[in-house]
Subunit: 237 residues, 2 copies
DNA sequence: TTACAAATGTCATAATTATTACAGTTTTTT
DNA sequence: AAAAAACTGTAATAATTATGACATTTGTAA
């Protein structure tokens, strides 16, 4: 476990910082009309935190009262299971908000841990200020709303994925999605992390993958995949 | 599969119906200050639909553009897996909103099906009207927001639950939660539907339950449960 | 280039769970 | 009260997956 090292923290007036305009690159704020930018910058209160690779930004089970917006770097969120193993939940690249989902829920503990894949910078906006901004800036409110809604959709799909009974079905689902319609493509992650994403053991995943290759449904060469029988994969769902 | 029978549909001015005041019993609207009730009733546009037991109100994968508020009855939402089996997701009793989560997401298809456990009545408010109400009535907006946020928390917990590797762990988690701290309690549902909730087979669930009884961790008599060793159950998570 | 770490594919064995079937019990319906 | 339906517990067998180990290949840092 790596402890969080906060390199720099500033709670300050937004318009005084180099980050002031950067905030409008984040999807949450990008929809705010240009003529409201100055006003928004006066209203927003935030701090900036910098993290190193493998730092833990958010800890599963801990309470949080702020909106986190990732402005540089890349993180993964993961959920620990009963044996302390991690299941990867999602990957977030800058500039995107994180920890949007539970901020306004009755139980404000994070369901996941967020870990930096590389060095990261994060803008932190207190919940009360987010409330205020939502009331004052309608587009902010609407985008925030759609963000949480999308999170619901994402989690629902994730739930469906995890609920697929067999590794075969999960793999079929995953390959169809990752291929993006292409016949040949390259896996973005290692088999190891795929297995974690699936919540299964790595040998079992590889075995099933090779079985599918044996049946000529797919060709496999390390991370290079070719889908030969898309229809067969679809039937597994 | 039971087809939906719509007994009565009215798109109308709220203040003209017997349901007009009923809407404020729903948690989404109950926080609206009394002095705004008349105004709110003038602004809200909705229809009422009645369903019979086992009717399908919402179909998994279909698109929906309205907010559904259950004002009478009880429904379950379920997710079909690859074999057409259903995994129970949640149970909703009147008066509560349903289908809140994906209404404002980019993909407005429902991730679940909603089926009536008994005869039900539902208020249906078009998305645009919900938008309008949110902008005009701040408390409505805030409650709606917390509703979706809670949905995120719910799904996250559900995801964690489904991700527990063994039936033992799931059962321990479930019993601890259902017991609500009591030593003795009665299961609310059948083993059959518990198994569906867990996403496992019924015989496997019963077997594990009886194993735990054999180890004196719990006593089981049909639906009556007594927890003898709460600490041991907790260790399984 | 060498050396080392990470990723990959494979295997035997153990553990877990699904499937199918059946009989006894309880609840609901008629 | 009788009949039907739903629920419960059980068991044998089959299928799936986990575990732990190993050899090989690939990528990377020294």
């Amino acid at each position: 476990m790596t402890f969080v090292r906060i390199k720099k923290t500033m709670i300050q007036h937004a318009s005084h910082t180099v980050h002031s305009r950067l905030i409008f690159q984040c999807p949450l704020c990008s929809s705010i009309p240009a003529e409201q930018h100055d006003s928004f910058l006066r209203d927003v209160r935030f701090s900036v935190r910098n993290y190193k690779k493998n730092d833990v930004i958010v800890t599963q089970g801990a309470r949080y009262d702020s909106l986190y917006i990732l402005i540089a770097g890349e993180i993964v969120t993961e959920m620990a299971d009963e044996k302390g193993d991690f299941m990867k939940v999602e990957q977030i690249r800058a500039p995107h908000p994180m920890a949007t989902g539970f901020l306004f829920s009755a139980d404000n503990r994070s369901p996941v841990s967020a870990v930096c894949k590389v060095d990261c910078s994060v803008i932190v906006i207190p919940k009360e200020n987010v409330y205020f901004l939502m009331r004052k800036y309608e587009s902010f409110m609407l985008v925030f709303l759609s963000y949480i809604s999308n999170k619901v959709s994402f989690l629902s799909e994730k739930l469906r994925f995890v609920s697929l009974r067999t590794i075969r079905a999960k793999l079929a689902y995953y390959l169809l999605k990752e291929s993006e319609g292409e016949k040949s493509f390259r896996l973005k992650t290692s088999k190891e992390s795929m297995a974690r994403l699936f919540g299964v053991s790595r040998p079992a995943l590889v075995k099933v993958m090779m079985e599918m290759a044996g049946e000529r449904l797919i060709d496999v060469n390390r991370r290079d995949i070719r889908i030969n029988d898309r229809a067969a994969l679809q039937k597994m769902l």
